[in-house]
């Protein structure tokens, strides 16, 4: 039997990797992947809690999160294509038209 704490630690580590990825990586595609990683870390949390608390709510929540994540990524990729057409780049650092 794997204890709950293992799952929570795994999820925290994944989430942290995702956060670092969003903040540090230059390519928008990797940033998108990092956001997915964060969302899936949350899913692990929900499923683990749901199992150990013997409550179904967490698993239901995961279905919603998965659906929303899919929609979000679709919109993200569409925006990526739009910006690539205008600028021929997907590098975060080159998107600096607006600064104060």
């Amino acid at each position: 039997m794997i204890p709950l704490s293992s799952y929570v630690i795994l999820s925290a580590v994944l989430f942290f990797i995702g956060v670092v990825g969003v903040l540090m990586r230059r390519s928008i595609i990797v940033v998108l992947l990092s956001i997915e990683l964060m969302l899936n870390a949350v899913n692990i949390n929900f499923v683990a809690f749901s199992h150990y608390l013997e409550s179904i709510t967490g698993q239901v929540f995961v279905f919603f999160t998965l659906t929303v994540a899919a929609a979000e990524v679709a919109v993200g990729l569409a925006l990526l294509i739009a910006i690539y057409r205008n600028r021929q780049t997907v590098n975060v650092e080159e998107l600096d038209m607006m600064k104060w």
Partner: protein
């Protein structure tokens, strides 16, 4: 297993269903109408909003809990829904000419506005973390697209992408907080979480979850230090969309903050009170100071909108009946006066002029005295100068703070309001004291004029007679 949906649930969800149905129908009618003759879509969307408003009116004073307590119709949610109908109606009225000028896809524009409206209505009615999240995401994902609606323009797509990255990042943080809270309490229902946490069980996981939820929600209302996305996104998005997203989603996020913090984390108020105090002061300071150095009018209004979120946060910190009331009142007034100011910027847009720079307003009082006068009133109101409604709104916020003993917070707010008055007055100086460089050609169709006149009457009317709206808001505050 019995899978029929009780009639009660359908009635509770009726306004949302109407708006969602109209959103889909708009997309369908868009295909039937020939290019260049899409005006009926605006009237059709307005009709949908009016119908939903009628449905909400019928439910005004009812309390209905639907869908296993995940969704609730109560005076609080209805107050916000009526505010959203008003905002959406004003935005639809003021955006037509701009859409044609900037070649924005008209059918999709109305479709997305109605979808955001649906999401916001779900947000304010949500009594479960699940529905909160779904509503929030419907609003956010749709707004990412709307920010980038000028597909061919670099600035607009850049705004959309920045909004997307930071928005989904903050959603993930919020969601992680929700998962921790679920792990601690074993439920996602707000009232049940509140009952479980009681008077603040010292539990580090719950505290971490709470902090992450606060961070996620602070991102959504563009509160400092999580405001970095707002100026870029507001500047790059098409102006009517900037106007829309600087008021409506912000009001919805505040409704969620109020409900989640008071209903689920009411017992842990000592934990979140300090966080929100720091955020509120920082937000007001960032809004007041950074707006001073802006040359772009839209960017200045973005910082102004950050600052206004800071004042509303004071009411959240106070957190009692008067505090809740002052936040609700503030959001209504802020929404209308900000939309009015943006309507003037939309009017300035014509073939030769973007109308988004402060210098574009030079000498507006000579070329168009009426437009300048309208802008003057909105700027006075945003600055909080009597006899405008902006003054009354700030007055209630500070009164709530002083009443509950947050004297220092009220003083900080008043001082920063004085600082921010400077840049609003700078707009007036540019309009009235400087020579015109261009003769402004205003694009002012009837709808936009109607929206402007309504906003002006609203701002002055409530500045002189604040009671009707105050009574209405009083009846709608959250009761436990």
């Amino acid at each position: 297993m019995n899978m029929t949906i009780p009639m009660d649930n359908v009635i509770a969800l009726l306004p949302e269903m109407i708006i969602a149905a109209f959103a889909c129908l708009v997309l369908m009618f868009d295909l039937m109408l020939p290019q260049g003759r899409k005006n009926p879509l605006a009237w059709f969307s307005l009709a949908g909003v009016a119908l939903a408003a009628f449905a909400t009116f019928r439910l005004t004073h009812q309390h209905i809990s639907a869908f296993a307590d995940t969704f609730q119709v109560d005076p609080f949610s209805n107050f916000f829904k009526l505010l959203f109908y008003l905002i959406v109606a004003l935005v639809i009225l003021m955006s037509r000419a701009y859409l044609q000028q900037d070649r924005i896809h008209i059918g999709e524009y109305y479709h997305f506005i109605l979808l955001v409206l649906t999401g916001m209505m779900i947000m304010v009615s949500a009594t479960d973390l699940m529905t909160v999240y779904m509503g929030l995401e419907l609003v956010s994902v749709t707004l990412y697209i709307m920010a980038a609606m000028k597909r061919y323009e670099s600035r607009s797509t850049e705004a959309g992408l920045k909004y997307f990255v930071l928005g989904s990042f903050s959603s993930a943080v919020l969601l992680y907080g929700m998962s921790l809270i679920y792990g601690v309490t074993g439920t996602t229902n707000l009232a049940a979480i509140g009952a479980f946490l009681g008077d603040g069980v010292p539990n580090s996981a719950a505290t971490v979850g709470l902090i992450m939820m606060v961070v996620g929600l602070a991102f959504k209302v563009a509160a400092a230090p999580f405001h970095m996305w707002a100026p870029d996104v507001y500047e790059g998005s098409p102006t009517p969309i900037t106007a829309f997203m600087s008021v409506a989603p912000k009001a919805a996020a505040f409704a969620v903050i109020l409900r989640v913090m008071l209903e689920a984390f009411g017992g842990m108020k000592s934990d979140w009170e300090a966080i929100f105090t720091v955020i509120a002061v920082l937000t007001m300071a960032v809004g007041a100071v950074l707006a001073l150095v802006q040359t772009s009018l839209k960017r200045m209004l973005a910082y102004s909108s950050i600052g206004h979120a800071g004042y509303a946060l004071i009411g959240v910190v106070v957190g009692d009946a008067l505090g809740t009331f002052s936040v609700m009142y503030y959001l209504v007034i802020y929404a209308v006066m900000n939309l009015g100011a943006f309507a003037i910027i939309i009017m300035l847009r014509n073939q030769g002029l973007m109308g988004e720079e402060l210098d574009d307003l030079k000498g507006l009082s000579r070329t168009h005295p009426w437009a300048a006068l309208f802008m003057l009133v909105f700027m006075f109101s945003l600055a909080g100068i009597p006899p405008t409604a902006g003054f009354i709104a700030k007055f209630y916020i500070f009164m709530a703070a002083i009443n509950a003993g947050y004297i220092l917070l009220a003083i900080a707010g008043a001082l920063l309001a004085a600082v921010s008055a400077y840049y609003y007055i700078r707009v007036i100086v540019v309009m009235y004291m400087q020579e015109p460089e261009t003769d402004h050609v205003l694009t002012a169709p009837a709808g936009l004029r109607l929206a402007l006149v309504f906003s002006l009457l609203f701002v002055i009317g409530l500045g002189v007679f604040p009671d009707p709206l105050a009574d209405f808001a009083q009846q709608a505050i959250l009761s436990f």
